[in-house]
């Protein structure tokens, strides 16, 4: 079963806005792509259309937030936060404005759109800013939970969304909590940590291991690190201590990604641990027909993850 993360965003926000009259959208001409047509129709006075002017949109959002509104700044991640980073730094973060930046179409999952529209640097940009919280939902259900949670917070936040429908992986028993990671599958031998729908590969890899006599005793501990900042240091370190083998998997550049947030934890806690970072390595994206093709091309596909696990044993 798959569902659309960005559709879940649009629907959830429209539902929330019915009861919470403080919710505003400041949009940069991507209403349809973010499933906000219904929001704009139902709440025209709370839907502010800025056109393709992401710097203005970011500071307008901050000014609106100053008047007590909870503002969702909506665009593609390749434009916001990519074009308007310094406006986000000054007007949103330095002024500590209640603005939630929704960056859709992140990662290679933008597929055919190619390098300019495959945002692989957003986490690097957003992780580095003081006051900013950074979230990357696993699937449509977690997107709903994250949007609900941040709508009650007063802090700046960045939420990374993707374009295609993706597998449902989040356990409905769980709640999303800022600064908490969920163990999607407990295991003993290798910790697989990642964020976003790419984590589905870990389940495929476990299935392949189970069918292989040589590797069938290997169990993966799969951690959904949707709260990238703040990080759930306790859960991550506990798992690394247990397995001693870590693989970080993400649809992002290695530079500035989740992997680079985790390695200092290992070093500063004097842990002995093997580490492989599966992410895009200092390259631009390119067009393809499916994102799986791109994942294979850039070395972050299912087979790449499988080989990485096998390297440990």
């Amino acid at each position: 079963m798959t569902n659309s993360i960005r559709q879940s965003f649009g629907n959830t926000l429209t539902k929330l806005a019915k009861n919470n009259k403080n919710i505003f959208v400041v949009n940069a001409d991507l209403k349809s792509s973010l499933f906000l047509n219904d929001f704009a129709k139902k709440f025209p006075r709370r839907f502010i259309e800025c056109g393709v002017a992401e710097n203005n949109a970011a500071a307008v959002a901050a000014g609106l937030a100053q008047t007590g509104k909870t503002v969702f700044l909506t665009s593609f991640s390749c434009f916001s936060p990519a074009i308007n980073w310094n406006t986000i730094k000054q007007s949103i973060c330095y002024n500590n404005s209640n603005v939630k930046i929704i960056g859709s179409h992140a990662g290679l999952m933008s597929t055919d759109l190619g390098a300019t529209h495959q945002m692989l640097e957003d986490l690097a940009l957003m992780r580095s800013l003081p006051n900013m919280e950074v979230f990357s939902p696993l699937d449509a259900l977690e997107t709903e939970k994250i949007i609900k949670t941040v709508s009650f917070s007063k802090k700046p936040a960045y939420i990374r969304l993707v374009r295609p429908p993706t597998p449902n992986l989040f356990d409905s028993k769980f709640d999303f909590t800022i600064g908490k990671s969920h163990i999607l599958q407990p295991g003993k031998n290798v910790t697989i940590i990642g964020h976003g729908p790419i984590l589905e590969e870990a389940f495929q890899v476990q299935a392949k291991l189970n069918l292989d006599d040589k590797y069938k005793k290997i169990s993966l501990e799969i951690i959904n690190c949707s709260s990238i900042k703040p990080l759930d240091v306790t859960t991550i370190l506990k798992s690394i201590k247990k397995t001693g083998h870590l693989i970080c998997l993400e649809d992002h550049q290695k530079n500035g990604g989740l992997g680079e947030a985790i390695t200092p934890l290992i070093l500063s806690n004097n842990l002995s641990c093997k580490f492989i970072h599966l992410a895009v390595d200092n390259s631009f994206g390119r067009s393809a027909k499916t994102y799986q093709e791109l994942y294979n091309y850039y070395g972050i596909g299912v087979d790449d993850l499988l080989s990485a696990v096998k390297k440990y044993f």
Binding site: F24, V26, I48, C50, G51, A53, N55, N56, A57, A58, A59, V60, A61, A62, G63, L64, A65, Q66, T67, G68, K69, N86, T87, K89, Q90, S91, Y94, N95
Partner: protein, 259 residues
């Protein structure tokens, strides 16, 4: 300067503020040229009995003019005036570029071109209040300014007033050489704003223009022609005094005697 015969009462106040600006920048360094060109404008906004900052908003988009705003806020009682003495020091809340850690400051800035967008957001979210923004002329080279002009027109932000401190200089020289703005008023008109060009050191003009702007049906731009370094002869029209560090005692004394 001669006694203030027939001068507007705010002129004497501004002259005192210029002393405060000079003193704080003599001790700590800072952006003196634009602070001296903009002080009459900010003085009128705060002390001209035109606005009520319990509900109205002031956004200093040109954040390097912080000395001007800090002096105003200190004299308005937002914080003790002695804080001006160590402005820009590690143990001071008075950041070199304007910061909302300072009581009375609503927007932290320093990177140009963003404040007018922020002011648009305030004007949209708080339509019953007035929002006054102060930008500089050089700041209009930032593309974001033009994005915000489109926005203000579209959303009919008639409660927004952008005052441009048009002192004709920026850090490296005359605006007309660095990147000319040509007919800025015509550009604002073309963008759908109401525009008035005034002498930015003439209090009667500043007050009467702001009074009209308060009742406008369109977003308002006031292009205030000012003099960089106003009041101190060797700083006037001299872009080398965009900012100053280590002003000599002799020049300081000369400046004090001229004010």
């Amino acid at each position: 300067m001669l006694p203030f015969i027939n001068a507007h009462p705010l002129q004497k106040v501004s002259q005192d503020f210029r002393h405060d600006i000079l003193d704080m920048i003599y001790k700590n360094g800072g952006h003196i040229g634009g602070s001296l060109s903009s002080i009459d404008l900010i003085n009128t906004v705060y002390f001209g009995n035109l606005f009520n900052f319990k509900k109205d908003h002031f956004v200093l988009s040109a954040g390097h003019l912080a000395p001007s705003l800090y002096v105003i806020l200190a004299n308005a009682g937002y914080f003790p005036k002695k804080l001006l003495d160590n402005y820009s020091s590690l143990d001071s809340i008075l950041q070199h570029h304007v910061s909302r850690d300072v009581p009375g400051v609503e927007y932290s800035s320093g990177s140009l071109g963003q404040g007018l967008s922020f002011a648009c957001g305030l004007a949209l979210g708080d339509s019953k209040s007035k929002v006054i923004c102060l930008t500089s002329d050089g700041e209009h080279q930032e593309g974001q300014i033009w994005e915000s002009l489109l926005f203000a027109k579209k959303y009919k932000l008639k409660n927004l007033i952008n005052i441009v401190d048009f002192n004709q200089f920026q850090i490296d020289g005359p605006v007309s050489q660095i990147m000319p703005l040509d007919n800025l008023a015509a550009k604002y008109i073309q963008f759908g704003w109401t525009v008035t060009t005034i002498d930015g050191h003439n209090f009667n003009q500043i007050i009467s223009t702001l009074k009209v702007a308060k009742k406008s049906d369109y977003p308002n731009c006031i292009i205030a022609k000012t003099t960089i370094g106003k009041g101190i002869s060797f700083m006037e029209n001299n872009f080398k005094y965009h900012d100053v560090k280590n002003l000599s005692e002799a020049l300081y004394n000369q400046a004090k005697s001229e004010l």
